[in-house]
C-alpha cells in the first residue's frame, strides 16, 4: 500500500511531468501544423546540412573522446597542488557558454589574436580560426574537458583491491592502462560519444560565430537563419522537424549516460606512482591541455579587463539585469520542477511509473533551444501575441525546460538514495512531507540543489537560441548583446561581456554547490 507521504510526493511530480509533456506535445503539434500549412520559398539543402553537421560532429566527438581520455588519465596519474581546483574547472566546461569559447578562440587564434601578434615580427601568420577547424576546436575545448570530468572519477574510484593486485603483479604502465583503466572507462564511452555528438550536431552559438558562412551551418543555425534572416517560417519548421527526428534518435544512447558532472574531484584509493617517463608524459598532456584548451578562456578574462567603455552603456546594464533575472528565474523553476519529478520518482515503486514521470523531462534533452523557441514563436504568432511582450517569460520557461533534464538526473539519484536508506523509517515515524524535506532531504542534498541552481543559471546565461528568436531592442541578454557586439565589430565590448559571462558561469558553478552544502548542513 502506498503511504500518504508517497502519494503526496507523487502528485506534484505527476503534475509537472504531465505539464511538461503537454507543453512539449503542443509545441511539436504547432511545429508540425505550421510545416503542413507553411509556404516555403527557398528550402535549404537539408542533405548537405546533415552531411556537413555529421562530419563536424563526428570529428568533434572523436577528438573530444581522445583528448578527454588522455586528460582524465593524466590527472589520475599526477598529484599536485591545485589538482582539485583544476578538476573543478574541468567540470565547469558543461556550463561554459559556447559563445564565450568561440570568442576566446578568436582572441588567441584570430587574425589579430595573440598567436598572430607573436608571429608577426617574424613575418609568419596562422590561418584564421573560422570554418570547420574552428568549430571542431571550440567543441573540443568544451567537450574534451566535459568528457575528462566524467571519466576521471571512474579512474580515481578504482577499487583499492584491484590496484593492490595490479601493483603486486608489477604491471607495466601500458598493461596497467589496458587491464585496469580501460575496463573502467570503456562502458562510459558509447553514451559519452552519443551526447558529445548530439551537443556538437545541435551546436548553435559556436557555429554561428565561427562557421564562416552557410558552408558549415548546422540545422540550428539554418533554422535561425530561416526565421530571422529569410523570414521563412515554412523552411524553419521543416528544418526543425528534421532536427527533432535526428535528436530523438541520438538521445536514446545518450540517456544511458549519467549526466551529473562531478563537482570537485574524487578520492584515489591507493597511490601508485608511475615511472618518471610516464609521469612526464602525463605532465606534458596537462600542460598541452592547459595551453590549447585553457588559453582561449584565459584570453577571454584578459581581454575583458578593458571593460571601462561598456560600463557606461545603459544597454549593457539592461542586458546584465535581464540575464541575471532570467537566469535566477529559470534556475529556480528548474529546481522546483526537478525536485517535484525527482521526489515523485523516489516514491514510485513501479519502474514504468518512474519512467513515465521522468521521460517528459528527459525529452527536452533532445529539444535544441532554437527549435524549442521556434515552437514558442509559432505559438505566439498563432495566438496573436507580441513576441516582444512575452519574450521575457519565454526566456525563463525555456531556460527552465532546457535545464530540467540535468536537474532531474542530478536530484533523482540523491533522493532515491535517501528514500532507500531512510524511507521506511520516515514512514514508520509518520513524518509529514514537509518534515521529510526539512529534516532528511534538505540537509543531505544541499550540494545537488546548488548544482541544479548553478546549471539552470549558467545554461540560461549562455543561451543564444531562445533570445535569438525573441530578442528585440527592448529585450536583450548578455548573450545577445555580445553577439550584436561581435556582429558590429565592437570587439572591446564583446570582450568585456564575454569575460563577465565566463566569470559569472565559473563562479556560480563552483560556489553555489558549496554554499548550499554549507547552508543545508548548518541546521543539523
Amino acid at each position: 500500500m502506498l503511504s500518504r507521504s508517497a502519494v503526496q510526493r507523487l502528485v506534484p511530480g505527476g503534475l509537472v511531468a504531465a505539464g511538461g509533456g503537454t507543453l512539449l506535445v503542443t509545441l511539436l503539434v504547432l511545429i508540425a501544423v505550421s510545416a503542413a500549412g507553411g509556404d516555403s520559398g527557398r528550402m535549404p539543402d537539408i542533405a548537405r546540412i546533415l552531411y556537413v553537421s555529421s562530419i563536424q560532429a563526428g570529428l568533434s566527438t572523436i577528438f573530444s573522446l581522445i583528448f578527454g581520455v588522455a586528460i582524465a588519465w593524466a590527472f589520475n596519474r599526477l598529484s599536485f597542488p591545485g589538482r582539485n581546483l583544476s578538476v573543478g574547472f574541468l567540470s565547469a566546461a558543461l556550463v561554459t557558454p559556447g559563445l564565450v569559447v568561440a570568442f576566446g578562440l578568436i582572441s588567441v587564434w584570430g587574425r589579430a589574436g595573440w598567436v598572430n601578434t607573436l608571429l608577426a615580427p617574424f613575418g609568419l601568420a596562422v590561418p584564421p580560426v573560422f570554418g570547420l577547424f574552428g568549430i571542431v576546436y571550440a567543441h573540443i575545448i568544451l567537450d574534451a574537458t566535459f568528457a575528462a570530468a566524467l571519466l576521471l572519477p571512474r579512474l580515481d574510484g578504482l577499487a583499492a583491491t584491484r590496484l593492490r593486485l595490479g601493483r603486486s603483479l608489477n604491471l607495466t604502465p601500458w598493461l596497467r592502462f589496458r587491464t585496469l583503466d580501460w575496463p573502467a572507462l570503456r562502458p562510459a564511452l558509447p553514451g559519452l560519444a552519443a551526447i558529445i555528438f548530439l551537443l556538437s550536431f545541435t551546436s548553435f552559438p559556436i557555429v554561428l560565430t565561427l562557421g564562416g558562412g552557410p558552408a558549415n551551418q548546422t540545422l540550428e543555425v539554418a533554422i535561425y537563419a530561416a526565421v530571422r534572416l529569410d523570414f521563412d517560417l515554412g523552411a524553419a519548421v521543416r528544418l526543425a522537424l528534421v532536427q527533432l527526428a535526428i535528436s530523438a534518435v541520438l538521445i536514446i544512447p545518450a540517456t544511458a549516460l549519467s549526466l551529473v558532472p562531478p563537482a570537485g574531484g574524487g578520492t584515489r584509493a591507493l597511490p601508485w606512482p608511475e615511472p618518471r617517463g610516464v609521469a612526464r608524459l602525463a605532465g606534458l598532456i596537462l600542460i598541452a591541455a592547459g595551453l590549447f584548451l585553457g588559453l582561449p578562456l584565459v584570453a577571454v578574462i584578459v581581454g575583458g579587463t578593458g571593460f571601462g567603455e561598456v560600463l557606461g552603456q545603459q544597454s549593457f546594464w539592461n542586458a546584465t539585469a535581464t540575464s541575471l533575472i532570467v537566469g535566477i528565474g529559470a534556475a529556480l523553476a528548474a529546481l522546483v520542477a526537478g525536485l517535484a519529478v525527482a521526489s515523485a520518482r523516489s516514491a514510485a515503486r513501479n519502474p514504468i511509473a518512474g519512467f513515465a514521470l521522468s521521460a517528459p523531462a528527459y525529452v527536452y534533452l533532445a529539444m535544441p533551444s532554437v527549435t524549442l523557441s521556434l515552437g514558442f514563436f509559432l505559438g505566439a504568432h498563432r495566438l496573436g501575441l507580441n513576441t516582444g511582450t512575452i519574450g521575457f517569460w519565454v526566456l525563463i520557461i525555456a531556460g527552465a525546460l532546457l535545464a530540467l533534464p540535468y536537474a532531474v538526473s542530478t536530484l533523482t539519484p540523491a533522493l532515491t538514495g535517501i528514500e532507500g536508506r531512510y524511507g521506511r523509517l520516515a514512514t514508520s515515524l509518520r513524518l509529514s512531507p514537509l518534515q521529510r524535506w526539512r529534516l532528511i532531504a534538505w540537509p543531505l542534498i544541499g550540494r545537488e540543489i546548488g548544482l541544479v541552481l548553478a546549471m539552470g543559471f549558467c545554461f540560461s546565461l549562455g543561451d543564444l537560441g531562445v533570445i535569438s528568436l525573441f530578442g528585440s531592442e527592448n529585450l536583450s541578454t548578455l548573450s545577445s548583446a555580445m553577439n550584436r557586439a561581435l556582429g558590429a565589430y565592437r570587439t572591446d565590448d564583446a570582450a568585456a561581456i564575454s569575460a563577465l559571462m565566463l566569470i559569472l558561469s565559473i563562479a556560480v558553478f563552483v560556489a553555489l554547490p558549496r554554499i548550499f552544502e554549507r547552508l543545508s548542513r548548518a541546521g543539523t
Binding site: 500500500m1 502506498l2 536508506r421 531512510y422 529534516l439 540537509p443
Partner: protein, 208 residues
Amino acid sequence: MLELDGLRFAHPGQDRQYAFSLSVAPGEILGISGASGAGKSTLLDLIAGFVTPLSGSLTLDGQSLVGLAPEQRPVAILFQADNLFDHLSIDRNLSLARPHGRLPQDERDSSLEAVGLAGLGRRRASTLSGGQKQRAALARCLLLDRPVLLLDEPFSALDVDTADAMRELVRKLVSARNWHTLLVSHQESDLAMSDRRLHLEAERLQTG
C-alpha cells in the same frame, strides 16, 4: 493479540506465494527463523504495511490493520541498520517520535537513561557506535510506545557483548510495555531470547 490469518502475498512477477498465519500475545516475543531470502523481511513488511497482501487478515485486538497506510499502523520497527538519521543529533532523532507535537526534554532524557545513553542527546548520530545507535533507536521506540514492535535482525551488526546487552534490554522493555514483538533473525543467539519460535520455509511458517 496480534493475529495474522492466511495473510497471502506474492512479489510482482514471481510465482512464489507466501501464506502467513501466527499470533503474538502482549509482552510476548515471537522469534521467526529462516534462511536468507525465505521471506522473513517480507513478513515484517506486510505487518508494517509497506507491501499489500493479496488476501487474509491482519488484526490487533480484533481491529483490522489491512486497510491502514504504513504511517497509520501501531507499529514501531528496529532495522538492522539506519535506524537513526545520521546527520541529526540524538535529541532530534528522538523528537521524531512525536513529529506533530513537541516532545519535552525530560521525556527524551528519561528514555535515553532507560537505554543507558544518559547525556548523549546532543551528540550527532553519526558519531555513535553501532550499539549506541541501536540503543538510541530503542529509546525512540520507548517514546513511540506503539503496541507492536518489529525487530528485523537488529543485533546482527553488533559485537557479541553489545548484542547480549541489547537483547537483555529489549527483553526487559517488551515485558514492561507489553509490546507484541516479532523478531526475525537467522542467528540462534537472537532467537534464544524469544518466548516462542516459528520457522519460515517454503513460504509457510512452521513450528520451530
